[in-house]
């Protein structure tokens, strides 16, 4: 497989995943936060921008943090490279450069999603709220996964897609938990509000019901964090996602469970060791923020190592 094509598959999957994540974040938080009228707009909406990892850019573009601005910024802004519309657009561009390598159904699906999100009129949606728009994006992403699963041979190209979306998922979940953890509790005038926001975190990743089945308890920050960081089976936990990354990287290189074939595999193995044996108590003792920050840095390093090993290696000619 051409390096360029592997690169495009990797990014195609990442962009779709990022679009879905941002849509989930917006959809859940937007409606939940609307209820919390006792807080200032800034306090309510700021975490959302932090979770999307675009705090700085937002500051350059807007003077005020308001529901409408945040929605516009995360969903529609063309000059925000992480906005949903931009992610879908870039996913389509990547798909277009490799449309001979993906199935016709995959291409038509991504192309269809692109036309759908571009048919929305930002002004209308901003007044009616993000639900309709976000639902389209989520469903579009699910369709993409389904069509890919069902029509693309599960060869190395498929593994690059899987590395892409899993790595993106690990990073986004880390950012999501971190964004929530960073909102200081003492800023909340009502104690229950904190749990509201952790509930929103769970709902954003579709883990609300699973949480209750597992813990039979009310929403507690430690348990939510445990579920999203360390749970081996929930598809959006960091550990699960990293496990997927490892299994795909091994699928590509053909290396077995006892050794590693390249730097990306070594780093992934190292992250996974921690996720397997750390307890949530230890993590909170050391500080949640620092821990997640480290995970994000390592996820980033894994991405770079993959690129160096498979996409942009030096050719000695």
């Amino acid at each position: 497989m051409l390096s360029r094509i592997a690169d495009s598959l990797f990014w195609l999957a990442r962009y779709i995943e990022r679009a879905e994540y941002t849509a989930r974040l917006l959809d859940v938080n937007f409606h939940m936060l609307l209820e919390q009228t006792q807080q200032t707009e800034l306090l309510r909406w700021n975490p959302l921008i932090v979770m999307a990892g675009e705090h700085e850019r937002y500051g350059h573009m807007y003077d005020e943090v308001t529901a409408k601005n945040v929605f516009e910024f995360l969903a529609f802004r063309e000059d925000n490279p992480s906005s949903i519309v931009q992610c879908v657009s870039k996913a389509r561009e990547n798909a277009r450069t490799i449309r001979d390598r993906i199935s016709r159904e995959m291409w038509e699906d991504i192309n269809g999603l692109y036309h759908i999100v571009n048919q929305f009129n930002p002004a209308d949606e901003i007044s009616t709220g993000p639900h309709r728009f976000c639902t389209e994006v989520k469903v579009g992403s699910h369709r993409f996964h389904g069509v890919t699963e069902a029509t693309l041979p599960h060869d190395e190209g498929w593994e690059f897609l899987r590395v892409g979306w899993s790595l993106e998922r690990a990073e986004m979940t880390a950012r999501l938990v971190d964004g929530q953890g960073q909102t200081p509790v003492e800023q909340h005038p009502v104690p229950a509000a904190d749990n509201y926001q952790w509930m929103a975190v769970l709902k954003s990743v579709g883990a609300f019901e699973a949480y209750h089945r597992q813990y039979h308890s009310s929403i507690e920050p430690e348990k939510v964090a445990e579920m999203l960081i360390l749970n081996p089976l929930h598809p959006r936990s960091i550990r699960f996602s990293m496990n997927e990354v490892q299994s795909s990287l091994r699928g590509i290189s053909g290396s077995g469970p006892v050794n590693y074939a390249n730097e990306a595999e070594r780093l992934t193995g190292k992250v996974l060791e921690r996720l397997r044996y750390d307890t949530i108590g230890e993590i909170f003792d050391r500080g949640l923020h620092a821990y997640l920050k480290e995970l994000m840095v390592m996820a980033n390093e894994i991405g770079e190592a993959i690129a160096r090993n498979y996409f942009y290696y030096e050719v000695v000619a």
Binding site: M1, L2, S3, D100, R101, A317
Partner: protein, 494 residues
Amino acid sequence: MSANPAHSLVPGLFSGYDCGGFYDEMFASPGIPRPHYLKLFQSLAAMSPAQFEERRKLADLSFLLQGITFTVYNDGRGTERLFPFDLIPRILPWREWDHVNRGLSQRVVALNLFLKDVYGPQKILKDRRIPRHLVYSCRNFRREMIGVDVPLGIYTHICGIDLVRDSKTGELCVLEDNARTPSGVSYVLENRLVMTRTLPDAFQEYQVQPVGHYPAELARILRSLSPRGGQEGSIVLLTPGIFNSAYFEHSFLAQQMGIELVEGRDLIVDGGVVYMKTIRGLSRVDVIYRRVDDEFLDSLSFRADSMLSVPGLMAAYRAGNVALANAVGNGVADDKAIYAFVPEFIRYYLGEEPVLRSVETFLCSRPDDLRYVLEHLPELVVKATGESGGYGMLIGPRADKARIEEFRQCIQADPRNYIAQPVVPLSRVPSYDQNTGAMGGRHVDLRPYCLYDGDKVTIVPGGLTRVALQRGSLVVNSSQGGGSKDTWVLFGES
């Protein structure tokens, strides 16, 4: 009351249809369809305009969802557009197609012999059958190719030859040759697919020759060129990339043939051998179906500023380590001034008379022709010899004074770079006009795609019928607002 049964059927879609003094592919005379169009006409006659509109929307949606688009450049940012598809097919009965097929085969073989000669012994120049200066002054003549042995002696693996029907004679004649990187064949295949989905009822009334074997035939020819022998060859399609107007076609053909679609940056030349960069290191490439123009192929040989280039590619090609299709330097054969000599090539190399007529052509490099052209600019079509895609063209009768003067100065400054032809009144096919909700006659040409394996020429029946969708327009190029139609070659006469 009309005595003609067909006439009494004339329904909403065709009400007020006017052949306008042109050869109409569907109607022999107003209201009377030609025999091979009768069944289609009746099928459309049974349809209300609303029903037709519904089918048309279905076809458009199908193209949009598949992302079958092309890019236009002259609006400054390269916008993606749908290539308009008109539902009314262009139908050719077998006997006429057979004639065209023979004429095109003859022409392709002659063009190939010319290229082999002009980059080899140059007998035709020594025999003074074409002026040496005309060949050497051609912008696309590549001196680097002189003396190069190309695989199997084939230059013109793929040719797109544009035909038009002259309304005055009713005869199909050759308007120009495209022997470099002709595009459009993917639309032939996609149009057929959409056609059978959208008008299955009408399609079933006919026995239409299939077109789907094109990619397989092209792949067979490409495989035969491998310097390492048929089984071992690794074939790739080299594209300029996603911003090229024909990008859809490049990816489409690569996918259909099951070959790798590569860009210049994916390839690397080492020790005179071409490799592609894969996730597992370098992998040898034997045959390149290149859709990149000569001058962008190799920055060491041609344009140093090319971003698409594979440095060292020409050296590998000359060493015989990689095959290119089409060959480098083919532009000398499809130059619009050289065009005037193709009938001579056929006589010189094959000892035959041309089966298909060419359009009368004035070479501005000839003083007499130049004088005539300058005196008759408002009546003529002027074309820059090295251009393609409908760029660099003047249609005298449609141009204003300023534009004519602009061309006059260009021609005087560089006569070699221009030719002129009388305006050919192109034939028309009824096409749906969204503004009026009815059929209107629109001018068409036809580009068949000819594949040459050194032994025989294979032509997928029909080709791309391009249609000037704007009322009265004669320019069919997609970059200039043209659309396309499905082309049906019948197994019989109707």
